[in-house]
Subunit: 129 residues, 2 copies
Amino acid sequence: MGEQLQDHDLSEILKAVSDPTRRSLLTTLVQEGPLRVTELAGRYAMSLNAVSKHIKVLEAAGLATRRTMGRVHLIEANLDPVRSVDAWFGELRSIWELRLDRLGEVFSEGTRNNERSVTDAKKDDPGAG
Amino acid sequence: MGEQLQDHDLSEILKAVSDPTRRSLLTTLVQEGPLRVTELAGRYAMSLNAVSKHIKVLEAAGLATRRTMGRVHLIEANLDPVRSVDAWFGELRSIWELRLDRLGEVFSEGTRNNERSVTDAKKDDPGAG
DNA sequence: GCTATATTCAACCAAATGGGTGAACAATTG
DNA sequence: CAATTGTTCACCCATTTGGTTGAATATAGC
């Protein structure tokens, strides 16, 4: 059961939550539980169709799921994909700290001249992928 | 120091990292430290100008900073804004768990129908539009 | 001063995005 | 069946986006 961190998925998730309306929708769903499309749309100063489209984007990103019950579509939030985002940012941070470790504390004296500290850190290069 | 989580900033940060090229740029900067625009651009199958624009987007989001040294612009990653993203997702998660907790309380009070509150909320509908 | 290098600015283009409207489809109800 | 309700589909429109190219600006070196 590996989580295949596909670049495309990550882009889709991040793009989905980069829109304030969609973030708001997601928050609403998270705090109130599954809601109908119309109920959701009623809270925004935009057309039902616009909200419907936003929901589709959330669905495509895996951040929302739909349970169709008759003519009513119940939309529910799903925060699982957020873990992919966390994972990516986490990885970024550890790469960052790894490099800072290699550089050592020599760097903290000033940010203008860094050439020498780099060569200094070369003695202990693990080459972490 | 409160995190004055401006919606606009969050959107800008998320949109910035929603592009795979920009994520790649950020990763490169994080693992290799400050780099010149040309050096960065040389790693991508796109024009220097395209990369230059991507860098600007990262800068605008606060994810990269620029130190101009003569004609050379050193671009450096800055992961601080990521904390805003973490904060938002974290908030979302706690809201989620809070609601689940509330649902649990309702159950232990002797309610027998699990989805009643959602579907039944129709009678309390304020009316969209 | 001239030339080469590093980078941005400006204009342009195709595609994607966020929004709107009206019609269509699906399901419930009288 | 007909009417109503919930939702999507198909278009249209303006703006943004990601990319291109060519010119402009700034600095470095001969």
